[in-house]
């Protein structure tokens, strides 16, 4: 999946799931939208569905410092790449 496709799907999840419409790609989601650790856990579940793969506990832990949409996109791309390398 290309980055702009991932971006589109992530923004849709933010709209539908978290009622956050069109956040800036580098905005701090916690500061601007009160996106907290509980939201992050909910997002990881959505990312699993998006990727069609379960995330490991370590992968989930590494996502906890993510603050922006761009960082989320980087994270998904990196997970996708590491899964592709394993195949």
């Amino acid at each position: 999946m290309k980055r702009d496709e991932i971006e589109s799907q992530i923004l849709q999840i933010f709209r539908d799931q978290f009622e956050i419409a069109n956040p800036g790609l580098d905005q701090d989601l916690r500061e601007v939208y009160e996106f907290d650790s509980i939201d992050a856990i909910e997002l990881l579940r959505e990312i699993e569905v998006l990727l069609g793969a379960k995330l490991t506990r370590e992968e989930k832990k590494s996502a906890m410092d993510i603050r922006t949409i761009n960082q989320i996109l980087d994270y998904i791309e990196s997970i996708g790449a590491s899964r592709a390398a394993q195949v």
Binding site: E34, I38, I41, E48, V49, K54
Partner: protein, 412 residues
Amino acid sequence: MKRRVVITGCSAITPIGHGKKEIVRHLVDGISGVKKLRADDLLSEYIHSGVYGTVSYPIEYAFRRRDRKTMGPVSYYACQVAKEAIEESGLDDAYIRSGRLGVAFGSTHGSPTVQRQIYKSFFSESKSEFSSIGAVDYLKSMVHTTAVNITKMFGITGRVLSSSTACTTSSQSIGFGYEMIKFGIQDAMLCGGADEYDTTTVAVFDSLMACSTAFNDAPHLTPRPFDEQRDGLVVGEGAGALLLEEYESAKKRKANILAEVIGFSCNNNGGDLILPNLDGITETIRLGLKDADVTPDSVDFVSAHATATKMGDIIEAQAIGKVYGTSPVVASLKSYMGHTMGSCGAIETIMTLYMMESGFIAPTLNLNKIDERCKMIHLAVELLESDIRLAAIQNFAFGGVNTCLVLKKFDQ
């Protein structure tokens, strides 16, 4: 230390309306809030009882996303009435966050709607490896979800009590909140209870043959407390919240005082978990009056628990007769809305406050012919103009838990 405790705010969401105006209108005009049980593709088709005390009108919630995300339906009800009770009390934000205010709020079993979603993920046939319990599902469904969603929404930092004793949940909340203030542990308590629409509760009472089944095609004709034709209770939903406050503090800030809580009792039957117990509830009433330091003949109105079960109403009438004789007017407010479970004590207390303030006593609805075995008490069968000075609110629960609250019209 024994301090006076007053009520400075209250609000209720009930099958007969949200807020004082609608609730009083239904009580005065004798309009029932009992409707047909909704189909739920789960239990409703197996339940014999086809009626429910339903909140059938829309409620506009203006909650922030950060607050909503940990709330199941039961907490929406709870937080809404809590918000309105706080607003009516006029307590300022500094006081609310100071630690002087605590919360005593509960429900029968948290949010069964959310619990059902959790169970569905366990038993889902899709076997999807991604279907799992949501991060906030427990927070939405846990037994004390109402109390802590209230603390979160308003930044309340005092004590939290979360009674979950079925039908005495919110009468205990009020009683324990009253004692917290009376004995100087907290200066104010936000008290109440809530329960959401839930067919599993109907199924429980239905399986015990305690639910009304004879009026499925005419829901407004049931429940019929104390009536010869009564055939069981009607489960309902709703929420009620009361802001209790230490009198001197309320007076100092010139709060509008709605009434004074002067007594509370809570005991247990010490035996069977279901059957009504004459000795147990007679003692509850006596202890409530003793705590209030009033005589039975000074009580003007008794809000009976009276769910319209065959034996429950008779035993309660006998207990009232033993303690009070025929002096107070007795009514069952459940006749208007069914049994709102964990919220019934708070809702019936609020309805009593409204009647105290408006100068009337609502009769028991559907009481066409009083059961001979309940005739030893003074049951209201028509709307009465009445200056209620003292009122007692009785509630009894599975598990043999009984409560009695005593309210006094406020005077200096």
